[in-house]
């Protein structure tokens, strides 16, 4: 077949992807926003405290929880869904992990008083591993419940997850008997988010005497490495697997995807299962982050921070858009705003107003950018 002659005017000028709309500028813009927000607080908070190693590490530790949950949320939002139950799933995971670590029985020896015997003391490595499996498993299971309801009963994700947000929170409280669970301290699982970088720097500069022990060899907290691996995994799934591309296709035009033979139901189930898996991981981090306490009231309104991170990162609630790198940057921005606001000693209400404003501004900017496409 011969190539037809093509008059110059048939090529629409909009076909050339302008630099303004390319993905790189997009990510660059978000990174720039991150730098601006950071510099803002770095300059305002007194005596450069904001740039101290300890504070930087705290930012990374806190944002790792948001970002890990945001990985799954990014996939869900790309597929034009939403998951409001993420915060409750994190709390459920935290409680389940604590409950497993806290397994104990009472032994009455031949002489002397009865003693509590903790399983953890017999299985110091295995039991935390079991706790990890149980925690991540309960996360994936909760999310599968969400999806079975959404796909099976053809309900709107917003409503289903609004309901399960209450159900999972209730379950968490039920398992914990409405109290905080205090499992034995010092298990490795409760230390995956412990600061490591700041102690190292302290030791290197001679401010403290001992090098960090335990998980100190990780340089950064283990949870942050887990996030990094999970993020790379999620990004690869989205870009390089059929599953990932089907998520985009479903979010972009579900009817077309169905017509073209994309297994819509199966893809959605996988998306939510993955989201639950990531929420479970985030739950593990949260457990360590709150010092290894099984607190059923933790992570309240995290779903909003996570959704905000995805949206700031370029996700569209209409589906078809979103990026892992963007969401991670979004999580960092949210955290910096949170922590910066605290350190500036802004009242809580001011912080809330500022974060709300930033989210709306980010989405507005995105819409303006999209308008150029039409």
């Amino acid at each position: 077949m011969t190539r037809p002659s093509k008059p110059a005017e048939t090529i629409d000028p909009t076909v050339r992807s302008s630099l303004w709309q390319s993905g790189w500028v997009n990510t660059l813009g978000r990174s720039l926003a991150l730098v601006v927000v950071f510099l803002f607080f770095a300059l305002l908070v007194e005596e450069g405290k904001f740039c101290s190693a300890r504070n930087l590490e705290n930012i990374v530790r806190q944002s790792a929880v948001y970002a890990t949950a945001a990985l799954g949320m990014t996939m869900v939002i790309i597929a034009a869904g939403i998951d409001l139950s993420i915060g409750s799933i994190i709390a459920l995971t935290v409680v389940v992990v604590a409950w497993v670590l806290n397994l104990h029985g009472t032994v009455v020896p031949a002489e002397g008083p009865a003693q509590d015997v903790y399983l953890i003391h017999q299985w110091p490595v295995m039991l935390p591993l079991l706790a990890v499996v149980a925690g991540v498993g309960i996360g994936a299971l909760s999310s599968l419940c969400n999806c079975a309801t959404i796909v099976g009963l053809r309900l709107v994700p917003f409503i289903v997850t609004l309901g399960t947000m209450g159900i999972f929170r209730g379950l968490a409280k039920g398992i914990a008997d409405e109290r905080d669970i205090y499992p034995p301290e010092g298990t490795w699982i409760s230390r995956i988010m412990d600061p490591t970088l700041a102690p190292w720097i302290g030791w290197l500069t001679g401010k403290s005497d001992a090098a960090p022990e335990g998980l100190g060899w990780c340089i950064l907290p283990l949870g942050v490495w887990i996030l990094a691996v999970a993020a790379v995994f999620a990004a690869l799934v989205l870009r390089y697997t059929r599953l990932g591309r089907h998520m985009f296709a479903i979010g972009s035009n579900e009817e077309t995807a169905r017509l073209c033979g994309v297994p819509v139901g199966r893809t959605k189930i996988t998306v939510y299962a993955l989201a639950g898996l990531f929420a479970g991981l985030a739950g593990l981090m949260q457990f360590s982050f709150i010092d290894g306490i099984g607190q059923p009231t933790t992570a309240v309104s995290y779903e909003l921070y996570v959704i905000a991170a995805v949206v700031i990162g370029g996700g569209s609630l209409m589906g078809g858009e979103g990026s892992i790198l963007g969401s991670v940057i979004g999580a960092l921005i949210i955290t910096i705003l949170n922590m910066g606001g605290q350190q500036m000693q802004w009242p809580k209400w001011v912080q809330e107003i500022v974060i709300g404003g930033i989210i709306i501004a980010a989405v507005t900017l995105d819409r303006l950018r999209h308008r150029r496409l039409r």
Binding site: V15, F248, A249, N253, T256, L259
Partner: protein, 515 residues
């Protein structure tokens, strides 16, 4: 579609055959025995008025609807698709007016959607790119970059991407539903060149279009549908426009249309060179008190857009609209205040708040009349809507009954009662009789006539009515003057007596100059 034995020897094999297809939705017959045979390597035009059953027939072909009766063969093997996906996998590719692409994905991914090349769970991007590029080259549009996101492409190129997808799937039958309706002349030429290449490659192409000129240019044979039946067909070259139009229209005007003598008064609505975002491109009209002005045209010609633009629902890009003496910026709220009201063609989604009661719907634009200050009194709403329920004989249990519980005809009367309650002078009615039974239609015609005449005794001055309709007998029967919309342009208005169905159809299909 019989051919002599001698011709049959030369003729290419029949690719697709549909025989005696019936399809009923509830009590209405959409298809009542349609036959269609399309050969490999031909372009076969499917022609018919709006509602003749073309879309339903194609939905049967593509597996979206199962036929109640009748059989289909694809390359001499029975074709009974259970769903669109199965039909697609067997080689039936549909290209609808509203394209089915995933706008956020790249050209290459759209072409390969559902048939991705993979190694294990991983997508093989290089192979995807190679195949997509080859499909684009086969349709001769390799200037489209495969990496571009589809929504960044102009509509004409998006359409080509969809055709490339059909090619990549190795389709055997390609259905193009009104493919040129949103294309420029230049794009149409390119599309036709492409269709000829695909035809030469042996594809069977079903071409649905209202534009007989295009049919004449591109199609080898044609089949005409009317009221769900095949009424004729043949070789395109041997048919004249007049013959085809006669087959399309072919029904008598029933005596349904009451018409009292009317005396047009002052101009109430004047539209000058109006253009909207896409359509209309140019429209000029004057609507006088005591007159019914009809707008004919095909679906997609821009009639609804014209009404919406006049009423302030769509943005005006150039031109002017003057409602009575008012000539400032227009908005729907201002229009209600200045004595204009509109009935939307889309009753369920736009025309009525179907979850609310009859009384709520009737009083909605003028809630100021049913309570002191800004309060709304439900009892006064009911009292205000009762006279309209009686006058229009709306069958409902009470003014408090939700609108979705009423029949289509009664719902439409509620929409009209709203204009009467607001006591507007200018009524813009977009397809007011679509999908309602004949009895309700006649009642609506009678009401339109009453409004245009007015009633001096009851101190009701005549009103002005703008009526948009696809149903030609209705326009000819009810209107005083009629203008025709064709591809966004409104022709000059002529008295209804100067038109007949045939001429309206010719004008609507863009053929007027040729006759």
């Amino acid at each position: 579609m019989s051919s002599t034995p001698a011709a049959a020897a030369d003729a290419p094999p029949t690719r697709l055959k549909m025989q005696g297809i019936h399809k009923r939705f509830g009590a209405t017959y959409a298809l009542r025995g349609v036959d269609l045979a399309v050969r490999a390597g031909e372009v076969h035009a499917l022609i018919g008025e709006n509602g003749a059953g073309k879309s339903t027939l194609m939905k049967v072909l593509s597996g979206a609807h199962a036929p109640d009766q009748g059989r289909m063969w694809l390359d001499d093997r029975p074709h009974r698709p259970r769903n669109p996906l199965q039909a697609r996998n067997r080689g039936i590719a549909m290209i609808y007016q509203e394209l089915s692409l995933a706008p956020h994905l790249s050209v290459m991914e759209n072409i390969m959607l559902g048939i991705e090349t993979t190694a294990g769970p991983l997508v093989r991007w290089a192979e995807m790119r190679r195949r997509a590029t080859r499909a684009l080259a086969e349709v001769g549009v390799d200037e489209i970059p495969v990496e571009t996101t589809v929504r960044e492409l102009p509509i004409a190129q998006q359409q080509l991407v969809e055709i490339a997808r059909a090619v990549a799937l190795q389709s055997r039958v390609l259905v193009l539903d009104e493919p040129t309706s949103s294309l420029t002349q230049q794009d149409i030429c390119k599309l036709f060149a492409l269709i000829r290449r695909l035809k030469a490659a042996g594809l069977a192409i079903v071409y649905i279009s209202h534009f007989l000129e295009e049919v004449q240019e591109i199609a080898d044979r044609y089949t005409v549908l009317r009221d769900g039946q095949t009424v004729g067909g043949g070789v395109t070259e041997e048919a004249t426009f007049d013959q085809i139009v006669a087959m399309m229209v072919g029904r008598k005007i029933e005596d349904l249309y009451p018409r009292s003598p009317r005396r047009p008064g002052e101009v109430l609505l004047s539209v000058r060179n109006l253009a909207g975002a896409e359509k209309p491109t140019s429209a000029t009209l004057e609507l006088r008190r005591g007159e019914v002005f009809g707008i004919a045209g095909l679906v997609g010609a821009g009639r609804t857009e014209l009404v919406r633009t006049v009423f302030g629902l769509d943005a005006v890009t150039s031109g002017a609209v003057r409602m009575a003496a008012y000539r400032g910026p227009i908005s729907a709220a201002r229009n209600w205040r200045h004595g204009a009201g509109m009935v939307s063609e889309d009753r369920k989604r736009e025309g009525l708040a179907v979850g609310l009661s009859v009384a709520d719907n009737v009083t909605l634009p003028r809630l100021d009349t049913v309570g002191p200050w800004r309060f709304v009194s439900p009892s006064r709403q009911h009292r205000a809507s009762r006279p309209w329920i009686e006058r229009l004989s709306i069958r409902c249990l009470s003014p408090g009954q939700p609108v979705h519980a009423l029949s289509g005809g009664n719902q439409q009367k509620v929409a009209i009662a709203r204009l009467l309650h607001a006591d507007v002078d200018v009524l813009l009615l977009d397809e007011p009789t679509r999908g309602i039974d004949v009895g309700s239609k006649v009642e609506i015609y009678r009401r339109i006539d009453e409004l245009a005449v007015g009633d001096a005794a009851a101190a009701r001055p005549p009103k002005a009515v703008l009526l948009v309709s696809s149903y030609l007998p209705e326009l000819l029967g009810v209107c005083d003057r009629i203008a025709v919309m064709c591809r966004g342009r409104l022709t000059e208005a002529r008295p209804a007596a100067a038109w007949d169905e045939h001429q309206l159809m010719l004008a609507a299909t863009g053929q007027e100059q040729n006759t």
